[in-house]
């Protein structure tokens, strides 16, 4: 029982990391209609920025906050100077560009900081707390709660603020939004910046566990994409739930299904994905695309 609960809590924690990256992908997709394969790579770059700062004896929290600011600017700059020319063109071209960007970022990180694993300090103590007789890692709880908090803040931003309303309007119909004076191009930069911030939070939270390498989030990106498809591209809540399911199932399967083990656990989300998509092609929570005349 104790092991089971611990596996679930740890699964929710890694699932939250997938969820943050998945939401970043959904955010960019809803605003610009393209899937950013570099979302994980950009997050790794942010984690390196935080790591470099902590090596200069900047306090960890300050370093992470600085890396979040860095990410916002990075996201905005990538949109403005790279992706903009591809946004309303051929989506295949744009996707290839984001894959190229991922390769480029990974290469730059490897060149600057080598491909060796670097220790990244944890924002949370590595102890466990006892809850109803079960010991649970504080880091897992902290990671989950931090990411949930970020999601809530983001949700409030989108629902309660004028900026959020403008971002939603531009995502729905940029040309029509411009007729009301919304600065579409600047809002797209903000959207990309916010997505990068989500990734940066995820990166900083997971880096202590995975240790920092240029390819640190490659697997997480694959899981995040699985969550995006499983949850349905149009449903942020669905995507988060799917990401949690993937995180938990992955952990449980590795331990309880003997032939899967740690080597095969990457296949778990895809088996899940396959089964769900056969039954519900629009994902668990996604809407069927309705073509309006």
């Amino acid at each position: 029982m104790g092991e089971f609960v611990q596996l679930v809590v740890d699964g929710l924690s890694t699932g939250s990391v997938y969820a943050a990256i998945a939401l970043a992908i959904v955010l960019v997709h809803s605003a610009t209609g393209l899937v950013n394969f570099a979302q994980g790579g950009m997050a790794v770059l942010a984690a390196y920025v935080a790591w470099v700062l902590t090596n200069q004896s900047v306090p960890l929290v300050v370093a992470v906050l600085a890396s979040i600011v860095f990410s916002f600017v990075l996201g905005a700059v990538v949109e403005r100077y790279l992706m903009r020319r591809f946004e309303r063109g051929d989506p295949d071209t744009a996707v290839v560009v984001t894959i190229g960007l991922l390769t480029l970022i990974t290469g730059i990180a490897g060149w600057l900081w080598s491909y060796n694993n670097q220790q990244f300090p944890s924002l949370f103590p590595l102890d466990t707390v006892s809850f109803l007789g079960v010991s649970i890692s504080i880091r897992s709880i902290g990671t989950t709660l931090s990411i949930v908090a970020v999601m809530i803040v983001l949700q409030l931003l989108f629902v309660r603020t004028k900026l959020g309303l403008a971002l939603r309007a531009v995502a729905i119909n940029p040309q029509s939004a411009a007729f009301s004076g919304l600065p579409v191009e600047r809002l797209l930069m903000v959207g990309w910046g916010l997505a990068a911030v989500l990734g940066a939070v995820a990166g900083a939270l997971v880096a202590p566990q995975l240790t920092l390498t240029p390819g640190m989030l490659d697997n997480a990106l694959v899981y995040a994409l699985a969550a995006v498809i499983l949850g349905g591209l149009t449903s942020p809540v669905g995507v988060v739930i799917a990401a949690w399911m993937i995180g938990v199932l992955e952990n449980l399967a590795a331990v309880y299904v003997p032939f899967i083990g740690h080597d095969l656990k990457i296949a778990v989300p895809f088996i899940l994905l396959f089964v769900v998509l056969v039954v519900r092609p629009q994902g668990l929570f996604g809407r069927k695309t309705v073509v309006r005349v």
């Binding site: 004028k162 309303l165 403008a166 939603r168 309007a169 729905i172 119909n173 040309q175 029509s176 939004a177 411009a178 007729f179 009301s180 004076g181 919304l182 600065p183 579409v184 191009e185």
Partner: protein
């Protein structure tokens, strides 16, 4: 006083030129119609003004050259484009659509008053205020599109086929409301309309476009009296 002046405006989509020298002017508080067959370039003329297609020639609004401005910059000058097909933001509620319309404004009190004004002008919207725009009927969406334009407190409204796809009685309701809006607000209007009968209830003068050029321009009364206009646009 002239508010909007178009002189020899040209525009193309890729290599295909669709506006070949359009000239018109809208006086302050005036309402001008643009008539013409399908594909004559009516929508493109409005797009040239609002900056959604690149245009040549001269486009002057309130003494200022606005040709080449981005659509959001044109909107900021005080021009509200209510596009063909309505352009309502489907996943946003009616109220949110109105607030998007008010994006450039800071006067909270004035915004609240204008929301009330829109709901008074289009009572159908009042009960639907928390519904998603995508759940509205075509007529209600058109009312919302006009209201979103009102919310930006424009000096000029560009209306593109506000009657499109509506039952005749609904179309008449919408035009009645727009006429009331015109009288009460003094907003100048440039009105594209297939249904010339409806257009003539609203506009003082009109121009007829044929393949991207002005074929005829005159007052509503003059145009209504012409046989060719009757045959082409007034159903006999």
């Amino acid at each position: 006083m002239t508010l909007l002046e178009l002189e020899d405006v040209t525009a193309s989509y890729g290599p295909v030129q669709v506006l070949d020298g359009v000239t018109l002017s809208v006086p302050e508080n005036g309402a001008v119609g643009i008539l013409g067959a399908n594909g004559a370039g009516k929508t493109t003329t409005l797009r040239a003004i609002s900056g959604t297609v690149r245009a040549g020639g001269r486009i002057v609004f309130d003494g200022k050259d606005i040709r080449g401005m981005r659509p959001d910059q044109v909107a900021a000058q005080g021009i509200a484009h209510v596009p063909e097909g309505r352009g309502t933001l489907g996943d946003l509620t009616v109220r949110e659509n109105l607030m998007v319309g008010a994006y450039l404004r800071k006067d909270r009190k004035g915004i609240d008053e204008d929301v009330d004004y829109c709901l008074d002008l289009f009572p159908n919207l009042r009960e639907r205020i928390t519904s998603n725009a995508s759940a509205l009927s075509g007529g209600e969406q058109q009312m919302l599109a006009v209201s979103r334009g009102i919310m930006s407190k424009p000096r000029l409204m560009l209306l593109d086929e506000a009657s499109l796809g509506l039952a005749p009685s609904t179309a008449k309701n919408v035009y009645d409301a727009i006429r009331r809006l015109r009288v009460e607000s003094g907003i100048a209007m440039l009105v594209v309309e297939q249904n010339a009968n409806l257009a003539f209830t609203l506009v003082d003068t009109a121009t007829v476009l044929e393949t991207g050029r002005n074929a005829l321009t005159g007052s509503s009364a003059e145009l209504k009296g012409m046989d060719e206009i009757r045959r082409a646009y007034l159903g006999g």
